[in-house]
């Protein structure tokens, strides 16, 4: 494999990779849900709905 092709492969997501096909999308969804939950929690504190 020439250096050029190797460099191209390095900057593209490999196809069939468990990390990029399964783990990353799942992690992004889970983190998105947690973020929304934390924002709602903080908003609840701000609005006085959740007491501390």
């Amino acid at each position: 494999m020439s250096n050029h092709i190797r460099a191209n492969n390095k900057s593209h997501i490999p196809s069939g990779s468990f990390l990029f096909e399964k783990f990353v999308p799942a992690a992004l969804i889970v983190m998105g849900v947690i973020t929304v939950g934390l924002i709602l929690f903080a908003a609840g504190v701000l609005l006085g709905i959740i007491h501390f």
């Binding site: 900057s11 593209h12 997501i13 990029f20 992690a27 983190m31 998105g32 973020t35 701000l46 007491h51």
Partner: protein, 273 residues
């Protein structure tokens, strides 16, 4: 020294290293995003150091640093750095002005609160995050073991509250959720959005991983802070250290040069350039 006294010191060292790295990058590339990140990281580091100090001894100005930089402002400044990477619009200048003015106002409110601190309540046996706020007890709610309570009129009614360093109704506490919500949306939301864009375009796997790490790091501190507010303060320092390490690794992974980056850089935003 207990593990909970050592962890904030380790976080401080990691954040100091991280801050120097980011500010050095700002000096080379002159990208304001790195400046905001650097300021946010410096605030995070100052907060970690203050936390470490307050686990050993009391100093009201160290508490000032801990609350203002560690609890209130750092997430917003970090998130604002991410916003600057993602968006190059004129309205971002307005948001920058609002952040600076808001931060100065929070500092002013904190200064106003300083003479009213209930310093007698301080103890090194509990994390500062568990003793800074005065908390009104709901009807039938029992105070935590060892907590000092008092009865006082508050918002037109007689309430029982657990004593904390900042008195009941301190205005500076009202500013904190604004900064933290803004920081959470821009820092975590920005990292998730960037990771998604790179992933969708099937390019720069390093930046996909980097943004996942940055989002996970920022979330770990958000999660640990929420647990602390729910009474599980023992996870806060671990969450902070995890946040510092994950974000630092994420930043380093994102900064690692990859081929074709120059061509794609202008079309795809990233939360850590």
């Amino acid at each position: 020294m207990s593990i909970n006294q050592i962890l904030p010191f380790i976080s401080t060292i990691v954040m100091l290293w991280f801050t120097v790295d980011v500010l050095r990058r700002f000096l080379v590339r002159r990208n304001p995003a790195f400046l905001f990140w650097g300021i946010g990281l410096a605030m995070f580091g100052a907060g970690s150091f203050a936390e470490a100090y307050l686990s050993l001894a009391w100093n009201k100005w160290i508490f000032f640093v801990w609350y203002l930089f560690g609890a209130a402002l750092n997430a917003a400044w970090l998130g604002h750095g991410t916003l600057n990477l993602l968006v190059r619009k004129k309205w971002v200048y307005g948001v920058t002005a609002a952040l600076v003015i808001g931060s100065l106002f929070a500092g002013y409110l904190m200064l106003q609160a300083m003479p009213k601190l209930d310093e007698a309540v301080f103890t090194t046996s509990k994390p500062i995050s568990e003793q800074y706020g005065t908390k009104v007890l709901d009807a039938g709610e029992t105070p935590p073991i060892g907590a000092q309570t008092f009865t006082t009129p508050y918002r037109g009614e007689e309430v029982t509250a657990v004593r904390g360093l900042l008195p009941l109704g301190t205005p500076v506490r009202l500013t904190t959720p604004f900064f933290n919500i803004y920081g959470l949306i821009t820092l975590v939301g920005g990292a998730i959005y960037s990771a998604y864009l790179f992933w969708r375009k099937r390019v720069m796997p390093n930046r996909v991983i980097a943004n996942v790490l940055i989002a996970a790091g920022a979330l770990s501190i958000g999660f640990a802070s929420t647990l602390t507010r729910l009474g599980y303060g023992q996870y806060l320092y671990l969450g902070e250290l995890l946040a510092a390490i994950l974000m630092f690794i994420g930043f380093r992974v994102a900064a690692k040069p990859q081929s074709e980056e120059v061509g794609v850089q202008n079309t795809v935003p990233a939360s850590a350039d």
